[in-house]
Every structure is written in structure tokens, then in C-alpha cells.
């Protein structure tokens, strides 16, 4: 049984709008998957289909074997938490603990249990000290961690981060990716990260590339980023280090594509010393 399964899924935003012709892919339980794609490639539509915000025109989306349909919608939403891009659009209460409790209260979690869930969720994102703080006085990264805590309080088995780091500064971005990695490793949570940052995709076990509503590449992130020509046709950029490796290569220094600073430096040092 897959944590998430898209089977022959097609979807369109109406006549002439964006459409997904046919999408097939699976995510295993405990996997950390990155989804890449330029703006308008269908990444976010995919996230919305995964927890029933949108319903497919044809085909089925299943979460742990249960189809995402009206009958299973509530069950599915409890299993699949989505964190969106703008931290300011995702907070509903003025105090951190109230905000974290909102989702859990909404599905009728008993009061004592909610207290425990808030503890768990805030400590998972490292925000226990801010339990009684005003949400409006937090930094972007902190707000986004509160948004994640609100999702965690529902004890989902899958968490989808839909460009959740796009509006954050480098520190905030690091905080969020660390939380995602930790939840994946320590809690075994299935994580799907939708991102523009190649550096974030490198943290994943597997990367999928979307283009015009279709899945066009998949594999280990490092392997994907060695396929320069293909990425360019999908309007994607290499990580910065990949671009440097590529220019060196084109300039006549055949360094291996490693996407790693240490390894690239070793390659360059090797090239420079063997030539003399």
C-alpha cells in the first residue's frame, strides 16, 4: 500500500485553463520526495489534489489505500497536512497555542488530548518557548513553523510543503527544512516538498519534475541534476554549483558533476595538479 498514489489522474481548471492530462505516480510511506517544476507546471495543483481541495476529473488519488472522495474526505484530510507558501495567510488565532489547536479542535479532538498534541507539535518544530506568544510578533520562519505545528497537531501521516519556504529568509528556510528532515527521520513521516530551490530538492530521497501538468523526470535528486539539457527544456535551472561545474566542463576542464563543494574542490585540485 502506498502512502500516496495517483492513478491515471486528469484534471483541468475549465475550458482553456491549465490541465493535467494524465498523472501516475506513487509515494511510499516514510519517503521524502521533492517535486520540482517551473511556475505553472502543475506542482501546486498536485498538492491540492492530494488532500481533496481539488477533485480529479478522471482517475483516482488514494491516500493509504483510501480513495480521496467525498466519503473519505475527512479521513484523508486528517492524514495529509498541507503547509502553504505565505505564513500570514495560514494563521487564524492571535496566540500561538490557539492557532496550533485550531485544526485539532475543528475535528473534535478531546480537550486533554489537544493539550498533549500542542506540546508534541510545538516541540517538534522547536517553538515550545513561544507557546503563549502573539503570532503577529513572530518572524516569518517562526510563523511558518507554527503553521507546521498546526498541521502536526492533527497527527497526519503525510505532510506536503507547498513552497513553504519561498517567502522566508535563508535562516527561516533552513529552520523549515530541518524540521521536515527531522519529522521524516524521527517520526517516519512521509514528506512531499514542492520547491523552486534545487538545494532543497537535494535533501530528498527522490525528486519528481513536473512540466505542463506531466511528470517528466524522476530519480535521485543528484542524478536528475546531472541531466542539464533536459532540465533546461523544462525551464528549470541547475543549482548554482551545477552551473559552475557545467561552465568548467565547457571551458575544457572535465570535472565530474558532484553538486558538492568538497568534491568539486577535489576535482579542481586534481585537474590543476595533474596538468603541471
Amino acid at each position: 500500500m502506498y502512502a500516496l498514489e495517483f492513478k491515471d489522474v486528469s484534471f483541468s481548471y475549465g475550458e482553456g485553463g491549465f490541465r493535467i492530462p494524465k498523472l501516475n505516480f506513487t509515494v511510499k510511506e516514510g519517503e521524502f520526495v521533492a517535486i520540482l517544476g517551473h511556475n505553472g507546471s502543475g506542482k501546486s495543483t498536485l498538492a491540492r489534489l492530494a488532500n481533496g481541495i481539488l477533485a480529479p476529473d478522471r482517475g483516482t488519488v488514494s491516500v493509504f489505500g483510501a480513495p480521496v472522495d467525498e466519503k473519505h474526505l475527512y479521513e484523508v484530510r486528517r492524514q495529509v497536512g498541507v503547509v502553504f507558501q505565505n505564513p500570514d495567510n495560514q494563521t487564524v488565532a492571535s496566540i500561538v497555542e490557539d492557532d496550533v489547536a485550531f485544526g485539532a479542535e475543528n475535528v473534535g479532538t478531546p480537550r486533554e488530548e489537544i493539550g498533549r498534541r500542542i506540546d508534541f507539535a510545538l516541540s517538534a518544530v522547536g517553538m515550545q518557548a513561544h507557546r503563549l506568544s502573539a503570532v503577529s510578533r513572530l518572524s516569518g520562519g517562526q510563523k511558518q513553523r507554527v503553521a507546521i505545528a498546526g498541521v502536526l497537531a492533527l497527527k497526519p501521516r503525510i505532510m506536503i510543503l507547498d513552497e513553504s519556504t519561498a517567502m522566508l529568509d535563508p535562516r527561516g528556510r533552513r529552520e523549515i527544512m530541518e524540521v521536515a528532515k527531522r519529522l521524516n527521520q524521527e517520526e517516519g513521516m512521509t514528506i512531499v516538498v514542492i520547491t523552486h530551490f534545487p538545494e532543497e530538492a537535494l535533501l530528498a530521497d527522490r525528486a519528481l519534475v513536473m512540466n505542463r501538468g506531466e511528470l517528466v523526470m524522476q530519480g535521485a535528486p543528484k542524478e536528475i541534476f546531472t541531466r542539464h539539457e533536459e532540465l533546461i527544456t523544462y525551464n528549470l535551472e541547475l543549482p548554482r554549483i551545477g552551473r559552475i561545474e557545467k561552465s568548467l566542463h565547457e571551458g575544457g576542464m572535465p570535472v565530474k558533476s558532484t553538486l558538492n563543494i568538497e568534491e568539486l574542490v577535489n576535482e579542481i585540485a586534481g585537474e590543476l595538479t595533474c596538468g603541471s
Binding site: 510578533r137 518572524s139 523552486h196 548554482r240 568548467l248 585540485a269
Partner: protein, 310 residues
């Protein structure tokens, strides 16, 4: 227009429990013609500083606190804050702030959130109308041609977008429209708070290319706030590093990013190329480059060919 700031201080919510000092005695000079980068953590005072540049945050108008007088025993008088942008003295009440704001264009973070016009051309024309002096309103033809020029300057096709709703455009296009709405009044200085934030890598590249084009043609000075050290290294001629409300350094990116230890201590990063140079240095390979990827690759390849070797 040269920008000279001396002893700027600013506190949010003064005299309340939430008082937060955002700027502490900041002095900074930005020469005309620079592509200037401002870096620093969230809360380091960057945004507060740039909001001073076109008078969105005014210098204290009552100068009592700063007036020349004998200090009481043990009291330290604050130096008088001044800010000059070209010939405008922003500490003077009589300064023509409307004219100043026309000369200093400000593009905020996510400027596309501020679009409101029914059509792209109306949205872009707003700035122009707003700055027109009473009784000197522009004729329809002059307005239309100015709007057309601004829209084309940001790389959009006037015929295609002019009559569209700005909300029907893609994220990158919306941002261009927002920038057009600022440059339409022909500012000499263009200030942008994180112009590339939230765009995909290709969109980022296009926006930076656009800014370089504007720098060459429309605006003498471009000032960007950025969190991305690579962006600063690749694009800027000078940079200022803000930390805890003060300017720690004002140097060229080349000099700034040699201070890796100091930057790490402040919790900031250095550009990728600077990291590569450091690691190569440890292996006895010294690369003297300006930390742009192009220069790095050029120097490495030159070394490989045996040029410039001792």
C-alpha cells in the same frame, strides 16, 4: 544623486513595552551610479533604512533632543541625524517630499500584492498621475506614451498586456508591471526590497537582468535589499551589511566576502564561489576573483592552461 545618511536612529513603538530599536546611529553613503546591495538578517534594520530614503519614515522633525546645548553632567547628547538625497535635505521640514518621492522610486517586497488597477495600463499610469502637480496634469497622449515606454522597459509587450487585468498575468509578469508602475515617474534612484523573492530560478534571473538594463538606461542608481549572497556577489558594485540596527561593513562584494569568519559569526552565509575559493585556498590553490561565477571559472581555466602561475 548621492545619498548621505548620518547618525540615523529609529525606534518602533517608542515609549511602550514593545519598543524596538531598528536603527542605531547609522551612517552610510551611497554614491550615484552604484548597483548597491543591502544585506542582513530579518530585523537588522535594512527595511527601516530604505524607508528613510524617500521620506516614508521621516527624520524627527522636532530637533529639541539634538539641539546644540550644554550636556548635563553625565549626559551624552545624541549627534544630529541628517539624511541628504541629492539636493534634498530630509531633516528639513520644508523639503518637497513629493518631488523627492518622484526621484526615489520604491519597490516593496512582493510589489505585485499592491496591484489594483482594472487594466495594466491604468495601474502603471497611477504613479504618473499621483506625482503630477496640481494644474499641470499630463495630456492623455503624453501619459499613454510614458506608460507604454515603462511597460516596454520592463520587458513586456504593450499591445499584449495593456488592456489585460494585472491579475490575469503570471507571477513574474505581475512583478514587472509593479516595477513599471514605479519607473514610470522616471526616478533617478530605484530602491527594491528583495526584488527576486518568491520567483522561480528562471524568474529570478530575468528580474536581475531587467534591473541591470534599467540601471544602464532609466535609473542612475539601483539599490537592492537581498538575503541571497550569490545575488549580491553577482550583481552589485557596492554592498552594506546591516546587523542589529547598525552598518557593520560598507564594502565592495569582493572585499566583503573575504570576511567570511565575520559573516559566519553574524549567522550569515557567503556566496558559493567564495566557499569554493576558501576550500581551494586550504589546498594551496589561491584564486583571486570577484566571487562571480564567471570570473571564478575564467580564473580556474586560466590556471589550468598554465597562465598566471608563479
Amino acid at each position: 544623486m548621492r545619498i548621505v545618511a548620518e547618525h540615523l536612529s529609529y525606534t518602533y513603538n517608542p515609549n511602550t513595552p514593545f519598543a524596538a530599536a531598528a536603527l542605531k546611529d547609522v551612517s552610510l553613503c551611497i554614491e550615484e551610479g552604484e548597483f548597491f546591495g543591502i544585506i542582513g538578517h530579518t530585523g537588522s534594520g535594512k527595511s527601516t533604512f530604505i524607508q528613510h530614503l524617500n521620506g516614508l519614515i521621516r527624520l524627527p522633525s522636532s530637533m529639541k533632543k539634538y539641539r546644540e546645548r550644554k550636556p548635563k553632567r553625565g549626559e551624552q547628547l545624541l549627534p544630529r541625524p541628517t539624511l541628504r538625497v541629492g539636493s534634498y535635505d530630509l531633516s528639513e521640514k520644508t523639503t518637497d517630499f513629493r518631488a523627492l518621492r518622484k526621484s526615489v522610486g520604491m519597490v516593496f517586497q512582493y510589489p505585485e500584492h499592491q496591484l489594483f488597477g482594472e487594466t495594466v495600463k491604468e495601474d502603471v499610469a497611477f504613479g504618473l498621475k499621483n506625482f503630477a502637480e496640481k494644474g499641470k496634469e499630463l495630456s492623455k497622449e503624453v501619459e499613454t506614451s510614458a506608460v507604454r515606454e515603462a511597460i516596454e522597459a520592463v520587458g513586456l509587450n504593450y499591445g499584449e498586456v495593456a488592456e489585460k487585468s494585472p491579475f490575469d498575468l503570471s507571477g513574474g509578469q505581475k512583478r514587472r508591471v509593479a516595477i513599471a508602475g514605479v519607473i514610470v515617474s522616471r526616478p533617478e534612484i530605484l530602491v527594491l526590497d528583495e526584488p527576486a523573492a518568491g520567483l522561480d530560478p528562471l524568474g529570478k534571473k530575468e528580474i536581475m537582468e531587467l534591473l541591470h538594463r534599467l540601471h544602464k538606461t532609466w535609473c542612475k542608481t539601483v539599490i537592492i535589499v537581498s538575503h541571497d549572497m550569490d545575488e549580491i556577489a553577482e550583481n552589485c558594485t557596492m554592498s552594506a551589511l546591516f546587523a542589529e540596527g547598525t552598518v557593520k561593513y560598507c564594502l565592495s562584494p569582493r572585499e566583503l566576502f573575504q570576511k567570511a569568519e565575520e559573516l559566519f559569526a553574524l549567522g550569515l552565509d557567503i556566496p558559493l564561489v567564495a566557499k569554493l575559493c576558501r576550500a581551494l585556498d586550504e589546498r594551496g590553490i589561491h584564486i583571486d576573483c570577484d566571487y562571480t561565477a564567471a570570473d571564478f571559472v575564467k580564473k580556474i581555466l586560466a590556471l589550468k592552461r598554465g597562465e598566471g602561475r608563479a
